[in-house]
Amino acid sequence: MDENILKQLWLNSNQVRRIEINSEKLMETINQKVLHMDKIIKKRDGLEIFIAICMMPLFVWWLITSPQLLARIGVAIIAGACLLVILKLVSARRVCVREEIASATQYHLMVSLLRVQKQIRLLSTVLWWYFLPFFIGVVCLFYSYSITFTSKAVYTIVVAALYGYIYYLNKRALKKHLKPLEGNIKKALYELLSEE
């Protein structure tokens, strides 16, 4: 048996007669994917808000009882950052759809689109409202208790590397999931609008 026979065998190996594409169902699938993604985001936000709420009393107590100024500054920054995280995540879920909505699917897609766009904005600015305050806070806190320069330097590098990695993961999620999802919802909305 030579290569050409092998290729012919392969190329003639299946006969597909009919493949039907149901755009309605395809749109529904996109909708399902959006819901799935929304669920994941909701779960993540809920967890982060819960952790932030649990941490805040601890840091407030620390703020009151700590004798060192640097530690107090660090704790105050972290507590403030926790509050900011809660506010940011809660406000990201609130969307207002003002357009005249023709159908439930269209309405749902519009809400999803606005939510995804808010998430994109949130993740795009995550460095300023999430990483930086927490980074400064924990570094201040550690510096107030640490004595040697080496330990301070090592700690700063480790924390910076960790935050850098998490920041990279965020950027990746933005590029790989949220941006394509935004494109899909826009496409689905376009299809729905053009059908009307």
Partner: protein
């Protein structure tokens, strides 16, 4: 956005369904898997259709999307079953494509499929593209490895494939 994406998508699927099905079969375990995989490929094509900038040939893009999805799917199949959203909207109506069960094709075809199935995912992708009658250059574009390496790898894989078929 002014283009009729649905029309373009339908045409791409219609024109390429045979080759997509062939590749999907090799990476799936049964007819249901093959169908799911086809739908997954179709959905991914739909998703990335807007970003297809015609820098590469349409065939190359189809193969690239198809193989990426198939290889990811094969990896998922090897792990514990994950929860995933079922994809509807693309339906296959034909029982004759049940290559796993009722084989209409010759015994040789069956052997060929069995031998391809024994290869690892990366080798499978190379040999599939070769059997699709693509040039080494096209295979190199799709897989992202150099033409020379494609040639070296393929000569080794073909040797193993012929050995398997002849045995």
């Amino acid at each position: 956005m002014g283009e009729d994406l649905k029309g373009i998508f339908s045409k791409i699927i219609e024109d390429n369904k045979q080759r997509i099905m062939r590749i999907c079969w090799v990476y799936s375990k049964n007819k249901e898997d093959q169908k799911d995989l086809f739908q997954e490929v179709a959905f991914n094509m739909w998703k990335s259709l807007a970003s297809f900038r015609k820098e590469s040939k349409l065939d190359t893009w189809v193969y690239r999307v198809c193989l990426n999805v198939c290889m990811q799917y094969a990896m998922k199949l090897n792990k514990v079953k994950k929860i995933r959203v079922d994809i509807e909207g693309v339906e296959i109506f034909d029982d004759s494509i049940d290559l796993h069960g009722n084989l209409e094709n010759s015994e040789k075809t069956k052997v060929l499929y069995e031998c391809i199935s024994k290869l690892n995912a990366a080798d499978k992708s190379l040999v599939l593209l070769f059997l699709e009658d693509l040039s080494y250059r096209a295979i190199s574009e799709i897989t992202g490895i150099t033409e020379n390496y494609v040639a070296v790898k393929l000569s080794r894989i073909k040797k193993n494939l012929f050995n398997c078929i002849n045995n």
